[in-house]
């Protein structure tokens, strides 16, 4: 029969079952659902041109994704993303591989890491926006956040380049970084040990957090701890097959021998594949979501002005912060509207004043002209009068003169008296 419950620390009773209930199928139910939905995995591959990125990806996933080799002459760093759907037994994986193009090729490498950081942030931003929507479909959302960053270090045998240090420093809080040594067949075994030790010590002293395989689960902790000691993995990639014994293996053929990709003595490729895919893929996805994404989200929301506690250290709920911000925003909006309106009114007034002034000037001018006109008119009037008087005078004179001319034609006796009279009269 069922046992009595003993109280646990969080107030829950733990019960013992008297028979088979059946909820141990729960993980299977969950897994079935996930299989139906399919899985998403996004890899970011950073490395200089020619460091072996594409070959490595091709070897890891046993396919040839992209055959073209890229040039060294890109003006700036770009990212190239390719999406693939892989099937294996009943698992569907939507794999996205993002590689850098032109990394480390420029003469001035100051801005090399910025496109990468921007890309990672953009994926986080897209997820955050989806999460903040009112009508959201987050369970259907195709997750594009980068789950792991394979950083390929050139096999110089000396130390990390400055570019590598800077880039990794900028990325270690945004993404899980797994450093790899590319083209590792150019280093001998002893040099390799030294190189790895040097790299790890440099990473530690620069404070760069690379991804550590989780060691809390007893099942995988042992192997993970061992693998943690082998970081950075020295990998060799190849898509060509060579016949060794009676098997065809992926390998690189040299005059002095054959480097087998999947031989653990030759390189760490198998370790990488184990760790990346077989053991820790789920953990990588989880770390991205719970650590890196949450950090990004926190920073972003704080940037937007939200806090969980206000300056008196009392817990402020997000809603109150939201409300305060909205009020502020509205006030700001209103203020700006008022300001614009004031400006507008001001401009109108100014324009009116200008126009008025112009009007007044024109009016003055008009009156002035009118005055002048009047004066002219008067002057002309006077002149005309004077002229008319002259004409009248002239006419009179003309008439007199004509009369005088016609006078001598007439006879005298008759008119002597008259003449005398006239003479007399003309004298008077």
């Amino acid at each position: 029969m069922a046992g009595a419950g003993q109280p646990q620390k969080d107030g829950l009773r733990s019960l013992s079952l008297s028979g088979h209930v059946g909820f141990d199928t729960l993980p299977d139910q969950l897994v079935n659902k996930s299989i139906k939905q399919g899985f998403c995995f996004n890899i970011l591959c950073i490395g200089e041109t020619g460091s072996g990125k594409s070959t490595l990806i091709n070897s890891l996933f046993n396919t040839s994704f992209d055959d073209s080799m890229s040039t060294h002459f890109h003006p700036n760093v770009r990212l190239k993303a390719q999406r693939y759907e892989l099937h294996e037994s009943n698992v569907r994986l939507k794999l996205t591989v993002v590689s850098t193009v032109g990394f480390g090729d420029q003469i001035n490498k100051e801005d090399s890491y910025q496109p990468i950081v921007d890309y990672i942030d953009a994926q986080f931003e897209a997820y955050l926006q989806e999460e903040l929507k009112i009508k959201r479909s987050i369970f259907n959302y195709h997750d594009t956040r980068i789950h792991v960053c394979l950083y390929i270090i050139s096999p110089t045998g000396h130390s990390l380049k400055t570019l590598d240090l800077l880039t990794m420093k900028r990325l270690d809080s945004k993404v899980n970084i797994i450093p790899l040594i590319g083209k590792a067949d150019s280093i001998s075994k002893t040099e390799l040990q030294q190189f790895k030790r040097k790299l790890i010590s440099e990473l530690v002293s620069s404070g760069i957090h690379i991804y550590q395989f989780p060691t809390d689960d007893e099942v995988v902790s042992q192997i993970n701890t061992i693998m943690n000691g082998h970081l950075p993995f020295a990998v060799v990639g190849s898509t060509e097959v060579v016949k060794i014994g009676n098997k065809m293996v992926k390998a690189r053929q040299y005059p002095w021998g054959v480097v087998q990709v999947e031989n653990e003595n030759h390189c760490d490729f198998v370790k990488l594949r184990e760790m990346l895919i077989c053991t820790n893929m789920e953990d990588l996805i989880e770390q991205t979501h719970t650590r890196h994404y949450e950090l990004y989200r926190r920073c972003r929301l704080q940037e937007m002005g939200f806090r969980d506690t206000d300056h008196e250290n009392k817990p402020v709920s997000l809603q109150e912060a939201y409300e305060a911000k909205r009020r502020k925003f509205y006030l700001e909006l209103q203020r700006r509207e008022e300001e614009t309106r004031q400006k507008f009114v001001q401009r109108v007034k100014e324009k009116e004043a200008v126009l008025k002034e112009a009007e007044q000037r024109i009016q003055a001018k008009f009156e002035h002209l009118m005055l002048m006109h009047q004066e002219e008119k008067l002057k002309l009037e006077k002149k005309r009068k004077a002229l008319e008087e002259e004409i009248a005078l002239f006419n009179m004179k003309k008439a007199n003169a004509e009369l005088l001319q016609t006078q001598p034609m007439v006879s005298t006796p008759v008119s002597l008296k008259r003449d005398k009279d006239r003479k007399n009269s003309s004298f008077t």
């Binding site: 029969m1 069922a2 419950g5 646990q8 829950l12 009773r13 733990s14 019960l15 079952l17 028979g19 209930v21 059946g22 909820f23 141990d24 729960l26 993980p27 139910q29 969950l30 897994v31 659902k33 996930s34 299989i35 899985f39 046993n62 396919t63 999406r83 892989l86 099937h87 009943n90 698992v91 996205t96 496109p115 921007d118 890309y119 942030d121 953009a122 931003e125 903040l132 009112i134 009508k135 959201r136 369970f139 594949r273 184990e274 895919i277 077989c278 053991t279 820790n280 789920e282 989200r297 972003r300 929301l301 704080q302 937007m304 809603q319 939201y322 409300e323 911000k325 909205r326 925003f329």
Partner: protein, 337 residues
């Protein structure tokens, strides 16, 4: 326009992704190990499951829950003495348990609703229940909206509500219809016919048919809801359950008896022993398989993806795009920051 969108940063130039190509695999990669990884992870974190039982007292709710989870999950109320007061309103009692089976740890919470339908005037007696369910959604929403969030938000939302129908043999009561109408929109309701050993086989089938018809006529969508069937496989499977088996006619018991040399859970009567887990006697085994062995995860997912999202969208919309306020609500602005 009523979306809450943070100020957009300048988007960097990102190349467009090409369409996925089906790559041929030339060797074993190991992708299918992700199933194992996932399984291990979920077993480590454990599961939460919250089940609510609603029904008039004396219908065998506690016994059924005990039978379902094969342990003394709820203490049976042995009826009230005349001196004890009958509760005036519906109480909500949530008790949490931790059970483990096959390496899987489950935190089971059984939410009991004593007093439902027991008063003389039962108007609005579903309101405390609806309030409780919405309160759990609210709690989850508040946690989700925090800036510094917990790694795993404790899930107290009701995943499944078992509604007990009295085996009158006639039809559903008005209280049943009202309750289910109101609550089928906020929670997954699974109607069960309680104390099914009072009906003969023919009475049972007829009663079930009538109940199904009444539910359909009243537009009550019980779990599994038709609209959430994801693909054809689900649809055919769920159709079969919806149209033939539901509502499950169950009998519960936590006493064991010896039948044919085996110890089985059952009820002893003068005319025979009713075996709880015998499919010819009652449909308890069907209910148990349905709720626990096949659809447990789906119950949780429908609650999270659909009921919770509906609640959230409604809450944010009512607040003009803001997460819920504890004080009075603001004017209804369809704006965003």
């Amino acid at each position: 326009m009523s979306e809450l969108v943070p100020e957009s940063r300048q988007k960097p130039v990102v190349p467009m992704k090409p369409v996925g190509i089906n790559a041929n695999l030339l060797g074993y990669i190991g992708i299918d190990t992700i199933i194992e990884q996932m399984r291990k992870k979920t077993m480590k974190t454990g599961f939460d499951f919250n089940i609510m039982v609603v029904g008039q007292s004396g219908l065998g709710k506690s016994t059924l829950v005990n039978t379902l989870f094969k342990s003394q999950v709820s203490r049976k109320s042995s009826g009230w003495n005349r001196e004890e007061k009958i509760p005036k309103t519906v109480e909500i009692k949530a008790i949490g348990h931790v059970i483990e089976e096959g390496g899987v740890k489950m935190k089971l919470t059984v939410i009991d609703t004593p007093g439902f339908g027991d008063q003389i005037n039962n108007e609005n007696c579903w309101e405390p229940i609806e309030k409780y369910i919405n309160e759990q959604y609210e709690k989850f929403l508040k946690e989700e909206v925090n800036i510094a969030r917990k790694k795993r938000i404790p899930d107290t939302r009701v995943h499944c509500c078992l509604y007990f129908i009295s085996p009158t043999g006639h039809s559903l009561r008005p209280l049943d219809l009202e309750f289910m109408k109101h609550l089928s929109k906020v929670v997954n309701i699974i109607p069960v016919i309680a104390k099914a050993d009072t009906m003969t086989l023919e009475e049972k089938t007829e009663f079930k048919q009538r109940v199904r018809k009444e539910l359909e006529v009243n537009g009550i969508e019980f779990y599994p809801q038709k609209e959430f069937d994801e693909d054809l496989e689900d649809k055919t499977e769920n159709d079969k359950i919806r149209q033939e088996s539901m509502p499950f006619a169950v009998v519960g018991s936590d006493k064991e008896y010896q039948v044919n040399g085996k110890r089985v859970l059952g009820r002893k009567t003068p005319w025979g022993i009713i075996e709880v887990e015998n499919l010819t006697h009652c449909e308890f085994a069907l209910l148990r398989d349905f709720v626990i062995r096949t659809h447990l995860q789906d119950l949780k997912e429908v609650t999270h993806n659909i009921h919770y999202e509906t609640y959230r969208a409604k809450r944010l919309n009512d607040n003009g795009g803001l997460p819920p306020m504890t004080s009075e609500t603001e004017e209804n602005h369809e704006s965003n920051l």
